[in-house]
Structure formats: structure tokens, C-alpha cells
Symmetry: C2
Subunit: 406 residues, 2 copies
């Protein structure tokens, strides 16, 4: 391998907040992102929330000279929003959709419709095989009472498993994305503990940007200041994580975030700050054995904590399934009753007009709608229960294995 | 590695057809399968269509002495039906759900509710790492006019990709399952061409069982003879496929199928025949380079053929989405019209009772139901369109790469 001088890799990561008709100044910002990527000439740009394929095509057209290789991951109703621009050939791609991703009836949140997923790209740079993962996990809408925490924990677990199972052939693993988790949250500890990925912010030798590496900051004009009130400095939910496998070591030489506006401009790229990391990849002197056994006890605690969250989610899902089933049965009973009354009225067994016909019909309309919706939701929550049970069981087995081998 | 004498591995594969309340003689057959597995002492038993977890638990209880390790993959509304019993420790498991799997409204077929998937198990036997995959693809209900062919082709493509991406750390890859494809079908040619997996039936040194290795045969008493009329010998849709990676070679020493009944019994194990393979795994003398380049032109043709099927599916999905969208708009217009009429009647702008109230209400009931269903189906078919587009594009890119490197 011709990699004796260390390889310098410049990576750009940004949640672009590009929702058509909803995101403010979308077109200007997409133009600005395109200009910056084209001027700065990164090696890799990992983007999230590029919901419209037209925006992706616009970027692609602008960046084709500087980043001849790109990929957009399609999933869900409106697309995964994930895309990657690369200076180096993309050899292969693969998409894994998370099995749980919110609820279709939470229209105001909309995560379900995005088909949240993790995309894998295999890229060869100077003979080194990079497995690049780009992802976006379910958003957190209320930190104190986070109804989506179990789903996000399942997503973090599936992400960790996906990375572990698909990175065996890699020299370097790189993950960029909006994980919607604070650095100390159980999901990110699970992800990092399970995969051994390192976080560029605490690991970097030189940092420049928002305090504490925050990527959602009050200085950003698109941010709702009230939501960030408990965190005066902002929060860090976008990450660039990495690890070198077997023969390669990776170091983060420098990390830069934008600080509320795009450099030299009056508007930001997005409601999130961009992260730019310069990674240094060099051959490891001696192939290092896995040091995972050293962190085993800590990992056991994290898996246990994650399992508790999944169980909380399981109880909620079971309750929701039960109440939807009950509602469907009640609606069905009402319809039967109405059918019987209607029939008896038609056959003349009853006094004529026992019930005002109009309200009678309105009631049957309501019962039918409730029956249909409850049935669909019963099926939906049954799938949710199955997936949560599966994850909980998998975590239990992992804990058994870890504890028996300790 | 202490594998100098070749390793003999006995693998059992069966689609158990164990649907509660629907499958004939289910409990007797599950008992029979448990007895056989316990007496024969295979190394691995890969089962499909064990839909009820109670049946799995019954098998697990019976087999715990002979097969101390087992796993049931949960997914969909009623579970994936996939489970594995192993004499050797299962080190890790992972589930990948296919992105397309029929339609929820095709209740009579029911595939959508099963959450069809591929399960991966990592098993270490005498120091050799086996990646064992168990799967069940969408059924074929009408060969001449197979509405599910595009979905099955997408599943075969995702299966091939999943195996390729997750098997880098394996010494031996083993796939067992009901693929619902005849040996010459495009999906199986795609799967085999892409992964390099070998088919145990043409490759075995000794075969015993149904002619042509069929696994759905007229001699089976649970089989609808009329459906098999075009195939007097039966069809082969259940497979054990394998390949050795880098340092190991795999050979199929013998292959046996049941022939309509369980050996020495009057009833079969299932409506499918069981396949039992004896595989011989030994270290390869010299690490063989990939010979995939030799079959490239053939693979290009297969990917092209698969892409055509996906495009056919895409057109159908787009048509269905369009007609559901149109239906939703019509229902919405009708509801607006009715609301306007109702309002004008209430305000006294119109003659009293312009329309019989009962039919009026029934019509609005119908319009509401149609609106709701069309909206849900519009969303469903949009997801289908997105996934088919994504696969079609991926195949196009693969073809570009292959052709440019030829």
C-alpha cells in the first residue's frame, strides 16, 4: 500500500434543514452550501435533511467538477434526506432502514414519513477502504418527556449492529450525521461502546467553533431560543465519529464548527451548525488487538440502561395496542347494534323513526372511521411491540453472553 | 486452526407451514419435526414459517439437549417465522427486513403481515466462522401473471447485498430458506451471480430424494395438485446455498430431500419437503483469488433483466399511486360538495329536504371511508415507488460500473 505518508481527509457534515415550502430561505441556503463545498474542496460531504431530490440535483450539478461522485439514499415517503458527495469513487452503497421510527399519525413531527435510515458507502482512497456511514436518527421534541426515546435507542442499537456487521472488510470506519442525542445520552454511549467509534470533538487536537462543540446554538437565527433555554450554550447532536481497523490508526487533527452564521455571510447554512473535521489516517505500527474487553463492565451497564428504555417503550406500545384493539371492538359493537336497529326498523318490528335518521347515520359514519383507524393502528402497534420485544431479547442475550464471559 | 481433518456439517432446512388455526395437522407435524431433529442430531436446523412463538418454544423445549442454541427472529405483525436451532454457540444475530413485501390489503395472501426478512447468525464451529443466513421471500401465487415478481426481485437483490456486506468476516457463508423462486428465475440467478453462492443440488456428489430436487411435489398430501399441474414433477423453491471464503473450501457431500411423507410416517413434515445437506468444509490449499471477473458479462445480463422487472413494478406502483391519489381527491370533492349542500340546507337557502337525508349520510360515510383508505394507500404506494426507484438506480449504477470496467 502506498500510504506511508499519512492520509489527510477533510470531512464536512451538515443537517441542511431543506424542507420544501417549510424551511426558511431554503434555496439561498442550498446555493450557499453548494458554493462553500465547491470552494473549500472537502474530500467528503455528508448531508442530512436534503428532503427534495431537486435540491440534491441542484447540488450535484454545481459540485460535479469538485466532487465527481455522489449518492442520494431513497426511502420513506419523502426520501431519507441522506446524501453524500465525494472526491473519490463510491464503490458500493447499501441502505438499512430502522425498524422503528415514530408514528405515522404524529403528522406534526413527520419523522415516520422520512423513513429514517443509515446509508453505507464503500470508498477507496489511496488504497485504503473507507466504510462511510451517514445517518439521521429520530428527533427529540421534548427532552423531559421524550416519547421517542425507546425508538431512538432501538435506532442507535441497530446502527451499532449494522456498523459492526458491515465493517469487517473496512480499514477505516467513518460515521457522520445528526444523531439527535446529547453526548452523554444512553444511545450514543451504546453506539460508541458497542462499535468502539471515537468522537472527533473530545479527541481532536485543535478545535475552533461553538463552545462545547455545540451544533444547535442560540446564535443561529433559525433556532427557537425558548427550546434551547435549559442549555444556554446550545447542544451537540451532530457528530463525526471514526475508528481505524486492524492496520490503520485515525486521528482527528482539527475540528471546526460554524458559529451561527456561514463564514462571511449574514445567514447560516441551516438551523444546525456544520462540522468540518480533518482526519489523519496512517498505518498502525503494530496491529493492535481489540481492547474491547477492558470496557466490558461499562458496556454491560450501558446495555442494561438501554434495555430499560426499550422495556419502557414496550409497555407504552402494549398499552397503545390494547387501547386501539378495545376501541376497534367498541366501534364494531356499535356498528352491529346500529345494523340490528336499522334492520328491525326496516322490518317494522319497532316503532317507526326510533332514532333521528341523520344522527343515526352520522354515528355510523363515526363508528366506521374509528373502526378503520383503530384497526390500522392496532396492526402498527403490534409491529412496534414485536420489534421492541426482539430488541429487548437481543439485549438480554448480549448481557447474558457478556456476563458469562466476564 | 485445528481444522486439518475436514469438518462435516449436517444442515436441515424446512418451510414448516405452521400457521395457527389454518395449517392442517400443525401440532402433530411440529411434534414430528421436533422428534426427527432430536433423533437425527443435525448440526444446524434452519426453519421457516414457524409463525407461532408457542410452536418455537415447544420445539426449543424438546431440542434443548441436542441443540442447546437457538434463535427466533421477530418481525412484522405475526413474526418473521424464521428460527434456527444449532449444536454450536450462536455468537451474534442480526435481522434485515426487506423494504418491499407485498401489500397490506392483500389479506388473502398475508405476506405483508409477516415482515419477510433475512436473519443472520454468526456461529463458530471448530474455529471456523460461519455466517448462516435464513430467509423466506415473498410467495408466488400465480406464475403466469406474477404481481409480486418486482418485489421478489428487490428482495433477492437486497438479500444478495446484505450477504455481500455482512460476510466479510466469515470463513463460510451458508444460506437456507424458501426463496419462492425456481432455479432458473431471474432473482436466484441475480442472488447467485452477485454473491457467488453455490447451489447444493447441482453441486452435490450424492443425491437422494424427489426428482430434480423438487421441494414442492404432487406426492405431498397437503399440496393442491391443480396448482402444480404445469410441473408434473413438482418445483424446487427451497435451497441450501453455500460458499467458502478466502481460506476455506466447501463441498456438498450429500443431499437428501423427503419425498412426500416424513420417513416411516404417513404424513409429511409440511407442505414443503425438507432438505438435508452434508457439507464438507476444509482449508483451501492456496487462497484462491476471486473468479468473479470471469462471469461478469453474464452477471451484467442478469442485472439488466432484474432491472427490467423492477421497472415494470415501478410503472405498476406509479399507476396505483396515481389512481389512489385521484380517488382521494374525488372523495374529498364529494365531501366538500355534501358539506356545502348540508350547510345551504341548514341555512334555509335551499328547498327543505333537497336529498333524502339517509342516502345523503350513507354517501358521506362512503366518501369518508374511501378518502381515508385512498390516503393510506397513496402513502403506501409512494413508499413502494421510492424503494423501486432506489433499487432501479442502484442497479443502473452497478451496470455502469461493470460496463466501464469491462
Amino acid at each position: 500500500m502506498d500510504t506511508d505518508p499519512p492520509l489527510q481527509l477533510r470531512v464536512f457534515n451538515l443537517n441542511c434543514w431543506a424542507i420544501r415550502y417549510l424551511s426558511k430561505l431554503r434555496q439561498e441556503r442550498i446555493g450557499l452550501i453548494g458554493d462553500t463545498l465547491s470552494q473549500e474542496g472537502f474530500d467528503l460531504a455528508l448531508l442530512q435533511e436534503v428532503w427534495s431530490e431537486r435540491d440534491y440535483c441542484e447540488l450535484k450539478q454545481k459540485l460535479t467538477a469538485c466532487y465527481p461522485y455522489s449518492h442520494y439514499f431513497k426511502s420513506g415517503v419523502i426520501g431519507s434526506g441522506l446524501c453524500v458527495f465525494s472526491r473519490y469513487p463510491i464503490l458500493d452503497t447499501f441502505l438499512y432502514q430502522y425498524s422503528l421510527n415514530g408514528y405515522p399519525y404524529m403528522l406534526q413531527h413527520g419523522d415516520w414519513f422520512c423513513g429514517k435510515a443509515v446509508g453505507l458507502l464503500v470508498i477507496k482512497i489511496c488504497g485504503i477502504i473507507f466504510h462511510v456511514y451517514v445517518t439521521h436518527l429520530h428527533a427529540e421534541y421534548c427532552r423531559d418527556k421524550d416519547a421517542y426515546l425507546p425508538h431512538r435507542v432501538v435506532q442507535a442499537w441497530e446502527l451499532a449492529q449494522f456498523i459492526q456487521h458491515t465493517s469487517k472488510g473496512a480499514d477505516v470506519v467513518l460515521l457522520g450525521g445528526d444523531l439527535n442525542m446529547h453526548p452523554g445520552d444512553v444511545g450514543i454511549r451504546l453506539l460508541r461502546g458497542w462499535t468502539g467509534l471515537r468522537d472527533s470533538f473530545p479527541d481532536t487536537e485543535r478545535f475552533e467553533g461553538c463552545e462545547d462543540g455545540c451544533t444547535l446554538v442560540p446564535a443561529n437565527c433559525f433556532i427557537n431560543k425558548e427550546e434551547l433555554q435549559p442549555f444556554p450554550l446550545g447542544i451537540r447532536i451532530d457528530y463525526i465519529l471514526y475508528k481505524g481497523l486492524s492496520h490503520f490508526a485515525v486521528r482527528c487533527d482539527s475540528l471546526v464548527t460554524t458559529t451561527g452564521t456561514a463564514p462571511g455571510k449574514s445567514i447560516p447554512y441551516s438551523d444546525h451548525e456544520a462540522i468540518m473535521a480533518t482526519l489523519c489516517v496512517k498505518p498502525r505500527e503494530a496491529a493492535k488487538g481489540s481492547s474491547s474487553s477492558a470496557i466490558e463492565p461499562e458496556l454491560v451497564d450501558v446495555v442494561n440502561e438501554a434495555r430499560t428504555e426499550v422495556r419502557v417503550g414496550l409497555h407504552t406500545a402494549e398499552r397503545q395496542r390494547y387501547s386501539n384493539g378495545r376501541m376497534a371492538i367498541l366501534a364494531l359493537l356499535l356498528l352491529f347494534l346500529q345494523a340490528a336497529m336499522g334492520l328491525s326498523s326496516l322490518m317494522g318490528w319497532d316503532s317507526p323513526q326510533p332514532f333521528p335518521k341523520f344522527s343515526f347515520s352520522l354515528l355510523s359514519l363515526l363508528a366506521t372511521v374509528v373502526l378503520l383507524l383503530s384497526m390500522v393502528l392496532y396492526v402498527f402497534h403490534t409491529i412496534e411491540v414485536k420489534m421492541l420485544q426482539g430488541t429487548e431479547e437481543q439485549m438480554r442475550l448480549v448481557l447474558q453472553d457478556k456476563l458469562s464471559s466476564m
